[in-house]
């Protein structure tokens, strides 16, 4: 094959991009700056196709995880099972889920000019997936669910669904949430034999479990059906167990029973999606599942932190569907517990807090728990509690709110801290002083 000057120029640009990006990475580390995405920005500036070129050399390909809720946990579950099965896996662990973060992760894994990994697992923001999905040429994409999320950032849900559809069309295998009507639509009319796009694999839960967690459309009164079956993976049982749960899943006709360190039906769904994904990557799900039990919760996603003798259970919420999942978790908690819901409205949280009115806070009135409202918009949360007929205390200051939460529980008790994203960062600083989010993550 004769390669001309154009090819050589492209190669030079690509090598420069990788080398300078790695230099930027070293320099920002020496300078002690946490700019995780900066090297990616450098690489993309020099060679805009650096992502496409690097992923082409990954032997087992790229796995993309997208959707509204559960991305981080599902991606971590897949990474854990692949790593446990002997693969070297690259992941964008620091929550840098835009193009520069992915480029930074890729460049950071280059050794002597080559990418020495078996596979990459990338959590990709729904707003970025339309552009990034096709560029990553995913071997497999997981769509966890699609619900309303910070409309002031993402725009309308139909737009998000179109973005995700573009990424699904560019993927060889799509692992889709059958029980979520918005996701089910992405796979409608497509089958394994269809010439358009690739293979579809469906995950869901048995009706008794599905009924406990209404999808976003059902929350707003739509009686829209998801994918009716057949299912490739199904969550058949979930039982609370300590700070986590035991689940049973049928995946590609194999029976898997496993303990998860994370509680909640929604995490049962995440595990089901992850098991189906590894199965479709050619790994036996029964042996891979063993590694799930050892997986610590992802940053703030069911993570338990010991604080003044109390077990603080952190459950990040970002949108009404996520808050409903947390509410479901509290409804399933029989022990009277102290609960703090802390709502911030910084850019990363979404400026608009209207979504609090869309969550089924009323369901908490029947629980034996004690409630507090915190965060910058603590008064909005207190107002939401008030109109749901629930008494709550209000504390705007995070440190005092945490003290009050802990004082509300006896030593040894579990307490629930349910924050939005930036509120979680602030509380983690109080719970684990001096630890960076990345350390807490890993």
């Amino acid at each position: 094959m004769i390669r001309g000057r154009g090819y050589r120029a492209a190669m030079v640009r690509f090598r420069c991009a990788v080398t300078l990006a790695r230099l930027a990475r070293t320099l920002s580390r020496v300078a002690g700056r946490g700019g995780t995405a900066f090297p990616g920005l450098v690489a993309l500036r020099i060679d805009p196709r650096v992502i496409e070129k690097l992923v082409a050399s990954i032997p087992q390909g790229v796995v993309v995880v997208t959707g509204t809720n559960g991305k981080t946990t599902t991606a971590k579950m897949i990474t854990t099972m692949l790593t446990g099965s002997g693969w070297t896996v690259l992941a964008n662990r620091t929550g840098s889920n835009l193009a520069r973060g992915v480029a930074a992760a890729l460049v950071g894994a280059v050794r002597r000019g080559r990418l020495c990994v078996d596979a990459a697992v990338f959590e990709i923001d729904e707003a970025a997936v339309r552009d990034l999905g096709p560029r990553l040429r995913p071997r497999l994409i997981v769509v966890t669910n699609l619900a309303r999320d910070q409309l002031d950032r993402y725009g309308e849900l139909d737009t998000t669904a179109r973005h995700v559809a573009a990424a699904v069309a560019a993927s060889r295998i799509a692992v889709l949430a059958a029980d979520d009507p918005m996701v089910a639509r992405l796979g409608a009319g497509r089958s394994a034999e269809s010439p358009e796009g690739g293979e579809i694999a469906w995950f869901g839960a048995v009706p008794e479990i599905k009924a406990t967690l209404p999808d976003d459309r059902a929350l707003y009164g739509y009686a829209e059906a998801g994918h009716a079956g057949p299912f490739d993976a199904r969550l058949t049982r979930t039982t609370p167990d300590g700070d986590g749960q035991s689940i049973a899943v049928t995946v590609d006709r194999r029976e898997v029973a496993v303990f998860l360190q994370v509680p909640g039906v929604y995490n049962g769904y995440n595990a089901t999606a992850a098991l189906l994904a590894v199965s479709r990557l050619g790994i036996d799900p029964v042996s891979a599942a063993v590694h799930l039990s050892a997986m610590a919760p992802a940053f703030g996603r069911g993570q338990v932190v010991d604080y003044h003798g109390r077990r603080v259970r952190l459950v990040l919420v970002k949108n009404p569907a996520g808050l409903n999942q947390a509410i479901r978790l509290l409804c399933d908690e029989p022990t009277p517990s102290a609960v703090l819901i802390a709502i911030n409205d910084n850019h990363a949280d979404g400026r608009d807090v209207s979504w609090l009115w869309d969550a089924s806070v009323e369901a908490l009135a029947a629980t034996p728990h004690r409630f507090g409202a915190g965060g910058i918009r603590s008064a909005d949360m207190a107002l939401r509690f008030k109109y749901a007929g629930i008494d709550s205390w209000v504390e705007r200051d995070d440190r005092r709110a945490l003290e009050r939460l802990v004082a509300d529980a006896a030593a040894g008790d579990a307490v629930y801290l349910i924050p939005t994203y930036t509120a979680m960062l602030s509380f983690l600083e109080l719970l684990l002083p001096g630890r960076s989010p990345e350390e807490v993550w890993s």
Binding site: R148, L151, D152, E156, L157, D158, Y220, G221, Y222, D345, R351, D352, V353, S354, W355, L356, W357, D358, I376, R377, S378, A379, D380, A382, L383, R384, K386, Y387, V394
Partner: protein, 239 residues
């Protein structure tokens, strides 16, 4: 026993994007706390409910596709809505339904969605979105809420607004006008939800509805609104 106050939630399935159920809940609770029984009636497309039997009608916002989906039904109800407005039924229309209570809404794609012309106003979609917390000076004090819309609404000369924007955009980015009102029918871009955080405005809607029922002015029993005021005060300082 007094007949319950009929609170209609218009198009709850399609027009519900920004916590609009919070407005229904605020009216319901504030009536119930004062001892008035309430009946909430969801009315979606194709539901034959006669709006003249309502005491208060609340309708919310929706995506362009949702607006298109309900527009035909709303036009079919147009004459009934006009009769109800003339008869003094209280309406609160937010964002997407506010736009369709004007004469028409031309979307960013150039599609024209016909409105019912309760408000002498027209809306043009497209351009940059107007997003953020808003403070509006109204006859019932400051209204605090959140706006998120690309539609720009222009009121005809003589069409009263709901108030003047002190912070944020309101109807558009050229005038300081926010919302519109005709008789007991109000339109606004504010959600957040608007009524829980603005109890004086919520009570004004309740007072007007009870006055229409009783045929005489009503004095409402005061409530403790400390949390409401605190939430509004916080929102007013946020971007």
């Amino acid at each position: 026993m007094t007949a319950p106050v009929v609170l209609v939630h218009l198009y709850p399935r399609r027009m519900n994007i920004y916590g609009d159920t919070g407005n229904v809940l605020a009216l319901r609770r504030r009536l119930e706390w004062r001892g008035y029984p309430v009946r909430v009636v969801p009315v979606d497309e194709g539901n034959p409910f006669d709006l003249e039997e309502a005491d208060i009608v609340v309708a919310g916002g929706g995506e362009d596709a949702s607006q298109l989906a309900i527009a035909g039904d709303l036009v079919d109800r147009g004459a009934a809505v006009h009769r109800a407005v003339r008869d003094g039924v209280v309406f609160l229309t937010v964002c997407g339904t506010y736009q369709l209570f004007g004469r028409r809404f031309v979307t960013a794609d150039g599609a024209e969605i016909p409105g019912i012309g309760v408000f002498a106003a027209e809306t043009i979609g497209g351009g940059s979105r107007m997003i953020g917390n808003v403070v509006v000076d109204t006859p019932w004090g400051d209204l605090v809420g959140f706006e998120n819309h690309s539609g720009r609404t222009a009121l005809d000369p003589g069409q009263p607004s709901l108030g003047r924007v002190r912070r944020g955009f309101g109807n558009n980015d050229m005038t300081a006008e926010e919302g519109a009102s005709v008789e007991n029918c109000f339109g606004t871009y504010l959600h957040g939800s608007v009524l829980p955080k603005n109890p004086a405005f919520a009570d004004e809607l309740i007072r007007r509805a009870l006055q229409r029922r009783n045929g005489a002015p009503v004095t409402l029993q005061p409530l403790d609104d400390a949390v409401e005021r605190r939430a509004a005060a916080t929102a007013a300082t946020r971007p």
